[in-house]
């Protein structure tokens, strides 16, 4: 009886550990994608109020929920490092906030701390929509010659709102980007 209970407990623990490890691995992969700029960011209308930007971020993952949470990180990363093209007069282009050369080491350190799951990036971004609602979900497939199409990963487009003015001020204060008055 006792042996049975011990076996069940060990089995449960192993299963739980496997699930946690898999989830962590997927999150790590998603973070790696952000680190390597594997996402797309685009302008989403010109309705954001002063000091904010509304953007649509396309993230890639095998797991829908991971792509959704990663959208916030990608949006912040995109506003800092990528910027986005506009759509004529409907939506203005945005330049990246980064205005100096960053060394690989600086980038690595900044990324490691700022983009932690509970890191400071959270202060500047909110989901404008819920992925169960109006988010765009696309299934990406791989098509090998003569073989059946196989699911590869999701491409999920989420609309998020970024407090870009506050983010700029934060980065200036932390000496990540140069302020206009720096040096004077």
């Amino acid at each position: 009886m006792t042996t049975n209970f011990t076996k069940q407990t060990i089995l449960c623990c192993t299963l739980l550990l496997c699930i946690t490890t898999t989830a962590q691995k997927k999150q790590r992969l998603a973070d790696k994608d952000t680190y390597e700029w594997v996402y797309d960011i685009e302008c989403y209308g010109g309705t954001a109020k002063n000091g904010y930007k509304i953007v649509k971020v396309w993230s890639y993952s095998k797991e829908k929920s991971v792509a959704t949470t990663q959208a916030k990180k990608n949006a912040i990363h995109g506003i800092i490092f990528k910027g986005y093209a506009g759509e004529g007069r409907i939506c203005r282009a945005s330049r990246p906030l980064m205005n100096r050369e960053m060394t690989e080491e600086e980038y690595k350190n900044f990324f490691k701390h700022f983009f932690l799951d509970n890191g400071d990036y959270n202060r500047f971004v909110t989901n404008a929509t819920d992925y169960k609602g109006v988010a765009d979900v696309q299934k990406l497939v791989r098509n090998k010659k003569g073989k059946k199409e196989k699911f590869y990963q999701y491409k999920i487009g989420i609309v998020v709102s970024v407090a870009s003015d506050d983010l700029r001020k934060y980065l200036e204060k932390e000496d990540i980007i140069n302020s206009l008055a720096k040096g004077f």
Partner: protein
């Protein structure tokens, strides 16, 4: 003992950098463009030696046009948020009028002498800044729809170069009022403007401040500036950053050197402007073997005029 002296020297060096480590900050001011003033009827006409000349009347513009005040106020606010407050045109104009009035009634207690003011003083006492933010907007109307075309240019007062810009036309609207369209235009364009201005400052920190040196001669000076200009060029070559300058004009009586790149700090770490920088040239010319008495006149951070012959 030697170690203590070294530490003391190191501490003094840090103190010097801490005290003088900041470059001289240029002043910025928003001014409506001549085209805008002309279109909106804010020009003064006067007879300039037989030629009818028009100049913008900024005082009338800020007193009468509330849209202009709104745009200036909005721009001042957004730039202040970026730790770069601007000079306010209206306040500068009021201050100039007040100073003019005060100087006119001032008298010395001993002999009732009035404040000395040369014709040159009167000319230079105008509303000015190191970088002028020249503003133009036009209202476009297509049927019932209105939109705003907006143009903000950052012009360096000494090199006459455009150092920053933001232009664009907003979305047409049926119902939005002009002040709202203007506010939107300012907000939409400020990012582009500060980005290009930042690029200008980055270039300045990397390659030095770009200034202009003008050399004039008094009528009674009997030297040859054409010949002297080669020595001035040698001095500029040795003292500017990477010997960067352009000789624009040289005659017997006049020389103009543009795109002169001067360092932002001297060897002691003290912030430099054109006046401090060219003081060494003025001293060199006034001492043997040249012994040319000269007058050094300054215009803001970036323009110097040396007048050879006397003070």
């Amino acid at each position: 003992m030697r170690k203590q002296t070294f530490i003391l020297e190191l501490a003094l060096l840090f103190l010097t950098v801490a005290l003088y480590g900041q470059a001289k900050k240029p002043t910025l001011m928003v001014v409506p463009s001549d085209a805008w003033c002309n279109k909106n009827g804010y020009m003064i006409e006067f007879d300039n030696q037989g030629i009818l000349t028009k100049v913008p009347d900024y005082t009338k513009a800020v007193q009468e046009n509330t849209d202009l005040l709104l745009v200036i106020s909005k721009l001042n606010g957004l730039m202040a948020k970026r730790e770069f407050p601007l000079k306010n045109l209206e306040s500068v104009l009021k201050n100039l009028t007040k100073d003019r009035g005060l100087n006119a009634v001032r008298a010395s207690r001993d002999n009732s002498a009035s404040v000395a003011e040369s014709p040159v003083d009167q000319i230079i006492k105008t509303a000015k800044a190191d970088i002028i933010l020249q503003l133009t907007w036009t209202v476009n109307k297509v049927g019932p729809e209105s939109s705003i075309s907006y143009n903000l240019q950052g012009l360096d007062a000494y090199t006459n170069k455009q150092v920053a810009t933001a232009t664009g036309t907003g979305l047409p609207s049926f119902s939005a009022e002009l002040p709202i369209l203007l506010e939107e235009a300012v907000e939409e364009n400020i990012e582009d403007f500060t980005y290009t201005l930042q690029e200008h400052f980055d270039d300045m920190f990397k390659n030095g401040r770009e200034v202009t040196l003008q050399i004039l001669t008094w009528e009674d000076w009997d030297g040859d500036l054409d010949e002297l200009s080669f020595e001035i060029e040698d001095w500029l070559d040795s003292n500017t950053i990477e010997g960067r300058f352009s000789t624009t004009d040289v005659t017997d009586t006049y020389a103009l050197f543009e795109q002169v790149r001067i360092p932002l700090y001297n060897e002691r770490g003290r912030a430099l402007d054109a006046r401090n920088f060219f003081r060494a040239l003025s001293k060199k010319l006034s001492s043997p073997p040249h012994s040319i008495t000269n007058k050094l006149a300054t215009e803001g951070l970036g323009k110097v005029t040396l007048i050879l012959g006397s003070k």
